[in-house]
């Protein structure tokens, strides 16, 4: 509780933020569900499918890392409607692409042989015991190329200018169709790969900045690459901010073309971060996943264009 910093405010502006405090809710023990999280892209594989189980109580114990309950021994198959079928293998525990800090088996499965193609549709089948879960995902046929990425100070988000640079992406946006995008920024060494080293799923950042093209002009003249980043003590509310770039790191900005289904799922997840208990926010709801058979999660395919900036 950071009551002190809000105390005066809450006296003067009675209600605006008031105060927050932890609250114990018993959600009731519901059945644990399987969770499937997989992605195909046009970048080089292997692609990762994570099979885990949901938690039915909270707070969830936190190790500061991925703390999902792993599902091992699942049979995971991905097939391309115009190409090969691939049976995935369990990821090696010490693979640097998948967070080497955790050495236990985490229910990660990786593809063995194919590269995603724009316009193709992929089918996923996961068999756990006698239960089967399925999903399919189409990769968008096109994505705008990033013309350039400019690194510069964002003096609104950081008036001091000391935190580093923010990245701004420039690209053409086709106006005659409805498009959905995400932007991501990472310190990347092997940028050709879908799962690049050091860009493993992390519990301190939600790396996608998701948007659609409703208000985008024909030429997007510098869209700031933002992310939801944990760890700001002052912030009671999660908010988008630049993933500050420290000089001399090479960075890669990725622009993802998303299907409407993926966009809706990721933006529903994003809304969960932004729910600050504020009564001006919509009723919270589950993100609409695409896994049939009663599992949570999303299997998605995305066409990525990228730009590496060296400093």
């Amino acid at each position: 509780m950071y009551m002190r910093s809000y105390y005066l405010i809450s006296i003067i502006f009675l209600f605006a933020a008031g105060c927050t405090k932890d609250f114990n809710i018993d959600p009731g023990k519901s059945k644990q569900l399987y969770v499937i999280d997989g992605r195909i892209s046009n970048l080089e594989g292997p692609y990762l499918v994570m099979v885990t189980k949901s938690a039915n109580s909270f707070p969830t114990l936190s190790g500061g890392q991925d703390n999902a309950e792993a599902v091992t021994g699942a049979q995971v198959i991905i097939s391309d409607d115009m190409g090969p079928t691939d049976t995935l293998r369990a990821a090696e525990q010490r693979d640097v692409r998948y967070d080497p800090a955790i050495s236990a088996d985490r229910g990660y499965y990786v593809t063995t042989k194919f590269t995603g193609m724009p316009g193709h549709t992929y089918h996923l089948q996961v068999r756990i015991g006698d239960e089967t879960f399925q999903a399919s995902a189409s990769m968008p046929a096109s994505v705008p190329a990033i013309d350039s990425v400019v690194l510069k100070k964002d003096l609104v988000a950081d008036p001091s200018g000391l935190l580093g640079d923010a990245a701004f992406a420039y690209f053409k946006e086709p106006q005659d169709e409805n498009n959905y995008y995400a932007l991501q920024l990472g310190v990347i060494y092997d940028s050709l790969y879908d799962r690049a080293r050091w860009v493993y799923a992390s519990s301190w950042i939600f790396p996608y900045y998701i948007f659609d093209d409703k208000t985008l002009p024909p030429y997007v003249n510098g869209m700031e690459v933002l992310a939801l980043i944990a760890g700001a003590v002052q912030d009671e509310h999660a908010r988008f901010k630049p993933n500050w770039i420290i000089p001399y790191d090479p960075v890669q900005v990725r622009l993802f073309a998303l299907t409407r289904e993926t966009y809706e799922y990721l933006s529903a997840l994003e809304k969960q971060f932004l729910d600050d208990g504020n009564v001006y926010k919509p009723t919270p709801a589950s993100a609409p996943g695409n896994i049939s058979g009663g599992a949570l999660g999303l299997f998605w395919a995305t066409y990525i264009s990228s730009k590496v900036v060296l400093r």
Binding site: I9, L14, V233, D275, T283
Partner: protein, 875 residues
């Protein structure tokens, strides 16, 4: 005397009539009269002995009148006769020196009408809902309409006339009604200014017993100002929340849920013009400056037929007309806002003006707080400001015509980093009303109104590089006329008709900086028109039964220019579209709203009533949250959004005790609504031209029991209200198509409002509320996606929050009364949430801000104990 006596006497009279005419004028012959337990016959004999008048009557007619005792000095014979005959079935006629006493014929079909306006003696304001009763053999009763006008048609005779209004001294007099006459009334003695008046006031609330209306309340500004409020700012809409059947989804906000309806189902009228967003500061204050308001009435379901357009309630707020006696300036300085009002006569007793303004202090205080609190990095540039302005002039054009011109405008500017650092909102209402009252004849009153309402809102997105302004606007204009015709003593007919045109521009994006990564986009305007007409009759059957029945009919048309899409089964893709040109009818609907209320008088102080009513609403508020944002859009019915409608049944028992000191009521209601809307899960509503694909329709029902016990007079007064209620919704696509509770569904709701006058200068108020917790949606579990933990949900509003309760106190100290000084001041010290309870304002579950792999639940509570001091003045 015997039967032939009158004839003989009359003969004698005509023969011997030699007196001068002056001696025959009843009002000029002055006598002293003393009677002790006398019969009427004895009284007449006594008058005959004192004057030259002679009485003629039938002995059996006057036999029943006895036990007359009084002592009068220097009164006219006329006055004596009125006193003697008042309340009896007798009246008199004079023929030269003879006074004929006649029984009022029961079969007399001739009616005479008494009519006029009721005003306060103090400021000349007209009084709405004042009760008028005329008692003779039977009692005739009416209430003044919203313009203070009344009209009562009764058989000729002598009556006891009573006019009363809560907080004012009753007017009782005996009247001799032989012909239609105008009787304008001024009621004296305002309770809150004079303790003496409180004690002698006999403000009996007869209207609750006698009016054939269920579920209605009226609060006077004096009552509203006595209720302690957060920050010491009196609030019209929050005061209504202390009444039975009226609650709020979120404490501290002005949103009203009336009998299980959502807040967009309330029609808020300010001098008849609809106010589309009656709130300031995101719903924490109502848009009405209490210094500019005269009174507020609420109808909770079965509305009188002149009202329509919403399902749950009509909140009829009336602005002050201005003091027509003298110029006054009043105002107040509070923690949250400062107010100033100037009012006075334009021509004394004929026309007046009022102008009133209010400006918030919140923003200034907040930015000031920065200087004291270096830790608070977020408050830079916070801007929470609002103002409102009310103005009214009302010239009386003649004895038959009055004109009321009123205007309101209020705006908000809201940016609070703590709430939302990336957007800034501005919004405001403007309303204009021009109304013309015309008294065609004593029993026929008409009002014609031209009303305009404009609501604008904008949301400025401050995202770096993408800053743009999202604007929306609603404009509405109505022309209508309302008539009241007191056809005969048994029938009061109300009828009227009108037309409304509405234009909504739901969304328009204007990029702010030139190289913004946003382009101008706008959604098509939505136009619609409504034609409406209504007729109702309030009919008396005998002395006990009264029936009010009527129907309101509305024709609605959604007009082009519009594009109507057709979709595949799950509305995921457009399969066809039709374009309608400008002015073309896209879709038309018709709604007939029958409404009926029966009232049965059990005794003079108790009654029971039953009622049924149907209401239509041809627009929906697209709101995605429990309190709502000023940027929420009103959407008229169209090819996709069918009009919502509801059926309500209500029944109640009403009683006044101890000569009107107490009033009590119990009401039971059941209502069902159709075509209500809600959003799909994770709805995409931002600039969506296919908004219908994001919306689901369904039904709602609610029932409840409401108790109210109110003490209207005396040095201590107030009320207790209790409501047991249930409110449920069922919408296909939400909660697995099962019924679920609305978030404002509170099972038990108890309010106590208490005011105590300690001395002439000092008074004390307290209120306490207790409410079962509202409902919210909580997750059933969490899962990891891309390394972060997310939540999943099952039942909608499945979690009942802990109960809410709060005590507020206030003490008012008026300045010393000094007749020579015009300045009157008062200090109000109030304490909100006295025992500092941390009531839940909102409950949520979210990722830990330090680690997204953890989720935890948190609650938000409003301010704890909050003392406030404010100063009000008048000169």
């Amino acid at each position: 005397m015997n039967r032939i006596a009158p004839a003989l006497a009359f003969l004698l009279c005509t023969l011997l009539s030699t007196k001068s005419t002056n001696a025959q004028d009843l009002s000029k012959v002055i006598i002293d009269l003393e009677l002790k337990e006398a019969t009427l016959a004895e009284a007449f004999t006594k008058i005959e002995s004192l004057t030259s008048f002679r009485f003629t009557y039938k002995t059996e007619d006057i036999a029943g009148v006895k036990g007359i005792s009084f002592r009068l000095r220097q009164v006219s014979v006329k006055k004596v006769l009125i006193l003697l005959l008042g309340g009896t079935p007798l009246h008199y006629e004079q023929s030269k020196g003879y006074i004929l006493i006649k029984k009022i014929s029961r079969s007399s079909s001739r009616g005479v009408t008494l009519y006029g306006f009721v005003t306060t003696g103090q400021s000349g304001e007209t009084l709405t809902g004042a009760t008028i009763s005329i008692s003779g053999e039977k009692t005739y009763f009416t209430t003044t309409n919203t313009y203070g006008f009344y009209s009562l048609t009764v058989p000729p005779g002598t009556y006891l006339f009573n006019c009363s209004y809560i907080g004012l001294t009753d007017l009782d007099k005996t009247i001799d009604l032989q012909e239609t006459s105008r009787n304008n009334i001024e009621l004296a003695g305002k309770e809150n200014n004079d303790l003496q008046a409180v004690v002698v006031a006999t403000a009996s609330n007869k209207s609750i017993i006698r009016r054939p209306v269920t579920g209605s309340h009226r609060l006077d500004m004096a009552e509203i100002k006595k209720i302690p409020m957060a920050g010491g700012e009196p609030d019209v809409l929050k005061s209504l929340q202390f009444l039975p059947g009226i609650q709020t989804s979120n404490e501290g906000t002005t949103n009203l849920s009336v009998r299980g309806g959502s807040y967009d189902q309330n029609l808020v009228l300010l001098d008849e013009a609809p106010v589309y967003n009656p709130t300031h500061t995101l719903g924490f204050f109502s848009a009405f400056n209490t210094d500019a308001i005269k009174d507020v009435a609420i109808y909770k379901g079965v509305f009188p037929t002149q009202y329509g357009g919403r399902l749950s309630s009509v909140i009829d707020v009336r602005m002050k007309e201005g003091n027509s006696k003298e110029q006054t300036v009043s105002g107040g300085i509070g923690l949250l806002a400062s107010r100033l009002t100037y009012e006075g006569p334009i021509i004394k007793d004929r026309s007046s003006f009022m102008i009133s303004g209010r400006y918030s202090n919140i923003g200034a205080l907040m930015n000031m707080s920065q200087n004291f609190h270096y830790l608070n990095v977020h408050t830079t540039d916070s801007r929470v400001a609002f103002y409102d302005l009310n103005a009214k002039v009302n010239p009386i054009l003649g004895s038959k015509d009055r004109l009321y011109l009123s205007a309101y405008t209020g705006h908000d500017n809201f940016f609070l980093d703590l709430i939302d650092g990336s957007s800034r909102m501005k919004w405001g209402n403007t309303t204009l009303s021009a109304r013309w009252n015309h008294v065609f004849n004593p029993s026929f009153f008409a009002n014609t109104s031209l009303l305009y309402s404009n609501y604008r809102s904008s949301n400025i997105n401050l995202d770096v590089g993408g800053s743009y302004e999202l604007q929306s606007r609603l404009r509405e204009i109505t022309l209508k006329t309302d008539m009241e015709w007191m056809m005969d003593p048994k029938n009061l007919i109300r009828f009227g008709a009108g037309i409304t045109g509405q234009e909504i521009s739901p969304g328009k994006i204007v990029p702010i900086d030139t190289n913004a990564v946003a382009k101008g986009v706008s959604l098509k305007d939505r136009r619609s028109a409504q034609l409406f007409a209504y007729i109702s009759n309030e009919q008396r059957f005998g002395t006990r039964l009264s029936l009010s029945y009527g129907v309101r009919a509305t024709g609605f048309a959604a007009l082009g220019d519009a594009m109507v899409y057709r979709y595949n089964a799950d509305t995921s893709a457009v399969i066809d579209s039709t374009h309608y040109g400008k002015g073309k009818i896209v879709k038309a609907y018709f709604g007939a709203e029958p409404r009926v209320t029966a009232r049965l008088l059990l005794t003079n102080t108790s009654s029971i009533k039953v009622s049924y009513g149907r209401n239509y609403q041809f627009q929906h508020l697209l709101t995605n949250s429990s309190v709502g944002l000023p940027t929420d859009i009103w959407m008229p019915s169209d090819a996709w959004f069918k009009p919502q409608y509801s059926d309500q049944f209500a029944a109640g028992g009403y009683k006044t005790f101890l000569n009107g000191t107490y009033e009590g009521s119990v009401e039971l209601y059941y209502r069902k609504s159709y075509n209500i809307i809600d959003f799909r899960d994770n709805a995409e509503i931002f600039l969506n031209d296919k908004i219908e694909t994001q919306i689901l329709t369904g039904q709602a029902k609610g029932y409840g029991l409401e108790f109210l016990l109110k003490k209207n007079k005396g040095a201590s007064n107030g009320w207790i209200s209790y409501t047991y209620s249930k409110s449920l919704r069922q919408i296909d696509g939400i909660n697995k198509n099962q019924w679920y509770p609305a978030n404002y569904d509170h099972r038990h709701n108890l309010s106590l409002v208490y005011n105590q006058m300690v001395s002439r200068r000092l008074s004390f108020s307290a209120n306490w509320v207790y409410r079962t917790g509202g409902h919210t949606t909580i997750p059933v579990g969490s899962y990891v996606f891309n390394g972060n933990r997310f939540l999943y949900y099952s039942t909608r509003n499945g979690y009942t929050m802990p109960p809410y309760h709060r005590l507020d106190l206030s003490v008012t100290l008026q300045g010393r009364r000094n007749e020579r000084r015009k300045w009157q001041g008062e200090w109000v010290f109030s304490v909100y949430n006295v025992y500092n309870r941390k009531n839940i304002f909102a409950l949520y579950t979210r990722q830990d801000a330090l680690d997204f792999s953890d989720v935890k639940a948190s609650m938000v509570y409003l301010v704890g104990i909050l003392p406030t001091l404010s100063y009000n003045f008048k000169f």
